[in-house]
């Protein structure tokens, strides 16, 4: 009790109030997430009902359209098509991105040779290159996979590289001083120590991969979820168009959150309880 009074006196009544709110939030994180979603969807519903734009459906109308598309199987079929370039592209990006990023972090010569390529790829507006890719690889699967890779690979590679470079040197020295081999240093110290930043890059890369997949389906040939968006737009079924967009956003968010879970279970046992 005494300590609470002291804190309030030190931080003022406002800070005391916010910290009480914050601690309540920490106790019930699920409620806060739901509340935040409810606020956004509520605002969406209100905006839809004001009829400021005839092509802007409200939240409930969109959800009804989403349910309709799930029920009639068109959504499932679309995702089966979209998943193909997305999953293939992400697997390629992860394999090449993580391994080349780690190699660049560990070896100066690889860094010199490879880093400029990834920096250029990250800086260049990749969407502008998609027509070029279509020109070379046609309108099939290869182009779409390449679109996913072009967007997700540089982020994953550069973050993996930076993650390895940012490993505290005293940890590596520690492993050396206890006569750890280079292999033991890399697998026992550098990779686990780099994993939080590396996974942050992977999450960003996967999110980019989702935009790559949708971009490819919008710009190259309309298939899968891209087709649902363009088709429903062309026939003015805007609630269905928004439902398709909403579904891909939701899927991306869920995938990225699952990746975070995976990271914690695989590499960060100390964060499991938190």
């Amino acid at each position: 009790m005494a300590s609470t009074t002291q804190t309030n006196a030190a931080e003022g009544p406002v800070a005391g109030l916010t910290s009480r709110w914050a601690s309540a939030a920490a106790d019930t994180p699920a409620i806060w997430k739901i509340l935040s979603l409810a606020l956004i969807f509520g605002a969406w519903e209100i905006a839809g009902r004001t009829n400021f734009n005839y092509a802007f459906p409200g939240f409930l109308e969109t959800m009804a359209a989403l349910w309709e598309m799930i029920a009639d199987g068109s959504m499932g079929a679309a995702y089966l098509r979209t998943a193909e370039p997305l999953v293939l592209g992400l697997v390629i990006s992860l394999a090449i991105g993580v391994s080349s990023g780690v190699a660049m972090g560990l070896r100066r010569d690889v860094e010199w040779l490879t880093l400029p390529i990834f920096i250029t790829m990250q800086a260049a507006p990749m969407a502008a290159l998609i027509p070029l890719v279509t020109f070379v690889y046609g309108i099939g699967l290869a182009s779409k996979v390449l679109a996913v890779v072009m967007l997700s690979l540089p982020v994953i590679a550069i973050n993996s590289y930076k993650a390895v470079r940012n490993v505290p040197s005293s940890l590596v020295d520690m492993s050396r001083s206890f006569m750890g081999s280079r292999r033991q240093q890399v697998f026992g110290i550098i990779l686990p120590a780099a994993s939080p930043m590396m996974f942050a890059g992977i999450r960003l890369g996967v999110a980019e991969g989702f935009s790559g997949a949708v971009l490819a389906e919008l710009l190259i040939t309309p298939t899968g979820i891209g087709d649902l968006i363009t088709y429903n737009r062309s026939i003015a079924k805007f609630a269905h168009m928004y439902a398709a967009i909403f579904s891909i956003v939701a899927l991306a968010v869920i995938t990225v959150s699952l990746l975070h879970r995976l990271e914690v279970t695989l590499f960060r046992p100390e964060k499991r309880g938190v």
């Binding site: 505290p168 020295d173 520690m174 492993s175 001083s177 206890f178 006569m179 120590a193 590499f267």
Partner: protein, 273 residues
Amino acid sequence: MNVTHLSESRAHSAPAAGDAARDAIIEVEGIHKIYGGSVTALENINLDFHRGALTSLLGPSGCGKTTLLKILAGLLQPTSGEVRVNGTPVTGPGPERAFVFQDFALMPWATVLRNAAYGLELRGVSLREREERARHYIDEVGLSGFEDKYPHELSGGMRQRVGLARALAVDADVLLMDEPFSAVDEQTRRKFQEDLIRLREIEKKTFLLVTHSIEEAVYLSDRIVLLSPRPGRVAQIVTPEIDRSGDPDAIRRTPEYLDLIDEIWAGLRTYVE
């Protein structure tokens, strides 16, 4: 009286270096370290470190004391000169030396037990044996009950105790400690210093301690090597003769302790602007 005593002891230490050479566990001969071709960190360092003694490397920042310790550990290569441990030239880290890091260097993803056993893990000791030995040293540094905690759940002082347990567990002859108490608060530091004196009685190892604290060096050391900065050179070697067998707190009140601190400060203040 104390001054006479001190100058005697110092006068004594110069010829003693020759006598004690046969008992030197680490010999440092003509070490130079130049960074980037222009910055001289260490210049012509010649030293012996005696077996079973605690020697401090003391000096202001920039005197190269940590560089010297890392050269002794084999983590850095000298530009010229040679270090021998038990008569064998040092080319890299070795099993007879263990390092205690200033920032603890604990693996945040591993428990106290696994961190303390890490040196043994690298050497391929079986899980059961290394955990048994790690538990023993965790207990010895006063951390029993914390084996399954993670570093972020410990205070700075406790983390450094894990670092110390890890270094003790590999049973090296020499413990190289790089400012082990500098990232720890004053109260914890005092307790830690007292524990180190007690630990030395049990472990009978050779300790090398890098520190910038005069009090710490005088409190703990059998021998203090004073380094002068830019370039790092050996300025003076002092041999405190302080009886550490009794109450650890009483040491801080003995005239030998207090006078030696003043004397060393008088010598060092010329290097500090």
